[in-house]
Amino acid sequence: LEPPKTDQPHIQGPSLWPIGFAIGVACVLVGLIVSTPAVVVGAVIAIVCAMLWIRDATRGYSAPAVVEPETRPARVVAPAAVEDAAEEETFPRSVFLEGATLGLGAVIGGVVAVPALGFMVAPAFVGQHAKRVDVGPITDFPEGQYTITTFLRDPSAGEVSRRTAYVRNNGVVNGDPSFTIISNRCAHLGCPVQPGGPIFEDKKKTATTGAGEEVTIIPMLPAGGFVCPCHGGAYDQEGNRVAGPPVRALDRYEFEVRDGHLVLLGTYSVAYVKDTGANARIKKYQLQNPGDTVRGIESWLYPIQPHS
């Protein structure tokens, strides 16, 4: 019986550069969404790691194989002329063709897959900043009274983008008009919160602003604050959570007054509000998804928000 061959040639450990390459590619993809410098950094990482990876992978072919000392004697004892001839061909044709086929296949697959997947994912994240919305002259908003104001957030998208804000004119404070503008998107899971009080439909006003967008303004009295029909979240008149599952106060709109018109800007998230009306001190955060906390340990679970 022939003894089993235990003399195995030393096998190189797996290269770690693919991991660096993957990190670089991930950095590029994240950077495409977040920031341009990150794309450059990611690209550099990816290219450097790719070159090192290639160098690692082709080491066996490009340089004479480093033979482990203990395997050398076995080969010296019985050198076969045929083996020498075979060893001289360090990069056989078949290996090259195999690599070329796989490599070309990967390139073709990448050329197709990267734009397709990018087109699937990127539009959801790029250019998502809120448009400015003119909701009409500030005289439409009676002082000290809440109104249900609906408007098109994105007129090009049509009625599907109709949003509701609860707007209260706090009057003029230090020469500047003051407004409380609360989003009706529940901070629990995004259902529309409703005013807990009478709605004066007969005093409904409609205004046409901008490119034929219709704005409706209905005065109301949210004596019981705001309540959500889905899971019973309840808020006071300033949007502070008072009961139910919401994790923070209601979001608010930033606004400006231009040529006597109230213009809504972006939305921001609110942890809580102290005091009321024009004196409100708002604990303000970048806009978060409903259900995501903005402060405390739980907010560490949501370190990055995709909204730009």
């Binding site: 959801a124 049509g158 599907v160 995004g190 978060q288 998804n289 679970l301 995709p306």
Partner: protein, 262 residues
């Protein structure tokens, strides 16, 4: 010449009837493949519980068929989606039936998947060597549930809209990646026309494609590994061997010895 014919003594009529099958078999081997699939041996003591997998497959086929037909009339656009659903239900001949089959069939599909999973779990049919098939089954369950979620938005009525808002925002509460998942599902920072079209595409192209592939793998493994014997069966895997042991099935391979009696 023909390989299908088992009865050489068939009448001329039978030969004529078999000719197309022989023609097909000679060129593709498909007839033999179908026969292999349909006439494979199964443990003797399996019963109605073992039909739940086929029932789930049938429910899936019903969903595919009715879904394809519904797609001929449905319009995935916020301005016309609701109207097109009303048109299907109220105006088109038999539209109410096909939509109803698809709507209720969706629940049937999900419920049968759970029953099938319970059967496999309680009968220990997920054990070696069938773990991979359990894993594929889990993926099928997740994909099937995602089908249900994406399909729920398509009627574009108040229930559909707000249920999807809540569903997307539940995804948004997942740690770290949640807000990104939610924004991907929405197709933007807000729900809009793209959300409906996106859900439609996922519902009728991406997810069914995934389901087809996974079901193919699932069935391949069922055929390759055979139907598992009942855990209480005398000749099942791990059970005490009887005196007739040498010819008894191991339960881990396709049964072969049982057929010898024929």
């Amino acid at each position: 010449m023909a390989t299908v014919q088992t009865k050489k003594s068939g009448s001329r009529l039978v030969q004529v009837a078999n000719y197309p099958l022989d023609w097909l078999e000679e060129r593709s081997g498909l007839v033999g493949g179908v026969k292999y699939f349909l006439f494979r041996k199964v443990p003797a003591d399996i019963g109605w519980f073992h039909t739940l997998g086929s029932a789930t497959l049938t429910a899936f086929i019903v969903q595919v068929t009715t879904g394809v037909i519904l797609a001929m009339y449905y319009k995935p656009d916020p301005n016309s989606a609701y109207e097109s659903i009303q048109h299907i239900t109220n105006d088109l001949t038999l539209g109410w039936l096909v939509r109803g089959m698809h709507r209720w069939g969706a629940s049937v599909f999900i419920i049968l998947m759970f029953f099938h999973m319970a059967r496999v779990f309680l009968f220990s049919a997920y054990k070696y060597p069938r773990e991979l098939n359990w894993i594929i089954g889990v993926l099928l369950l997740a994909t099937g549930m995602f089908e249900g979620f994406t399909g729920y938005l398509l009627p574009w009525d108040q229930t559909a809209y707000w249920a999807s808002v809540v569903g997307i925002n539940i995804n948004g509460t997942a740690p770290f990646l949640g807000p990104f998942i939610a924004q991907f599902l929405r197709g933007g920072a807000e729900i809009g026309p793209d959300t409906l079209a996106r859900f439609y595409s996922l519902h009728m192209l991406v997810l069914p494609g995934a389901l087809f592939g996974l079901i193919g793998l699932h069935l391949y493994l069922v055929i390759r590994l055979g139907v598992s014997p009942n855990p209480w069966t005398k000749d099942g895997a791990g059970a005490k061997r009887t005196e007739v042991a040498p010819t008894a099935r191991s339960g881990l391979t396709r049964p072969s010895s049982r057929g010898k009696a024929e």
